[in-house]
Symmetry: C2
Subunit: 214 residues, 2 copies
Amino acid sequence: VPEARARAAQRDTYRHGDLRRALVEAGIQLARDGGPDAVVLREATRRVGVAPNAAYRHFADHRALLGAVCSAAQSALAIAMERELARLSPGQDPAENARDRLRACGVVYLRFAQEEPGLFRAAFSVPGSMELAHHPSLTGNSRRTPFQLLNAALDELVNAGALTPERRQGAEFLTWSAVHGLASLLIDGPLRGLERPATAEIEQRLFDMIQHGL
Amino acid sequence: VPEARARAAQRDTYRHGDLRRALVEAGIQLARDGGPDAVVLREATRRVGVAPNAAYRHFADHRALLGAVCSAAQSALAIAMERELARLSPGQDPAENARDRLRACGVVYLRFAQEEPGLFRAAFSVPGSMELAHHPSLTGNSRRTPFQLLNAALDELVNAGALTPERRQGAEFLTWSAVHGLASLLIDGPLRGLERPATAEIEQRLFDMIQHGL
DNA sequence: TGTACATCAGTGAACGCGCGTTCACTGATGTAC
DNA sequence: TGTACATCAGTGAACGCGCGTTCACTGATGTAC
């Protein structure tokens, strides 16, 4: 049996050692290549070199595996955002700083969507997963959700006096809508396949619209 | 065989008569109930009361059937838009009229997404389908695409002097992004399950953002 | 320090399912003479 | 006006596939004495 051969080649111990993490990572790779629909339990076990039913020691369900992949994907996005925010060097004007931080969130969001479309789709594929995933990721250490980071940036804008508290109400949904929608158009819609300078210009115009429109 | 019974019950002629249209309509119903993934060839033939392979007289592929459903869904959206636009009674100010028409496009788009989420997802599920479907629908007679209607509304805005030609450039993508993104949040995201008055307010605020931001 | 034993991670085999698709066919239709 | 025949829409049966999931099991680990 070639399967057993492959399995033996990858692993000489009976126990795997860290099967749960390995399955999630295999699932992430599957999502990378084919989006959430490609996160198939049997394929994940195959890649890890383990019997299909071994997954049930660590996940109740196929859904549970997909959920773990989804939240890991969200975590990856959150980490990328935090990394970019950390890179910003604040200037004198607090309002300007807050605007820069908000924009940075959007930039990372759109870059992630374009560079990792499969993972991006997986991140928001499970209904209700958008706001929930504050769990520590298996692949990183960010404890904040993209949504929380967006909210924080908007709060800064209020603190800097660049946004009134009335307009702050629900602003997270308006900005998220605009940026998320552009991401959809860029990876699935009519803007799919557009090259870098052109997409960057549209992104800038979208951010301007948000900034002036808020 | 109960299948044969059901088939005989629904149809007494050997020829179906209009199988292609019937399959598309069954596919639309499937999409209504379960989104694009629920558009299953075998299930469509089952509902129509026909052997599974009969579909291959009218569609090359499962993909072809899904494509037809997708473009019918887009057509349904376009028709709803045109109906709403026809209901508007123009006032004195051409700029005001143009703004009303643009807003009406968005209102219908979001209403459609909320009332027919499965169909809405199906409409934009096939990559590259967003801009293409100008084919006459099987279920209606609109020859215009939602995208074309949006563009027309923006052009009116320019003609009315309410939008400069420079800002008109790419504005279709900005507005579409914002509205499409909100649709996603409303049907799949954190705003899912929100009731009517609350959603209406967010929609209004989004339209205001677009209007001021453009 | 050694040994019995409970624990539980991973195995092997099988299940039922529903899918898309292909094959050779049958039977109604409508056109050519 | 009647009849042979080409056309082609729909049939029946089967295919191979891969999936998620369940069952009774085996074998390594680590803890209690």
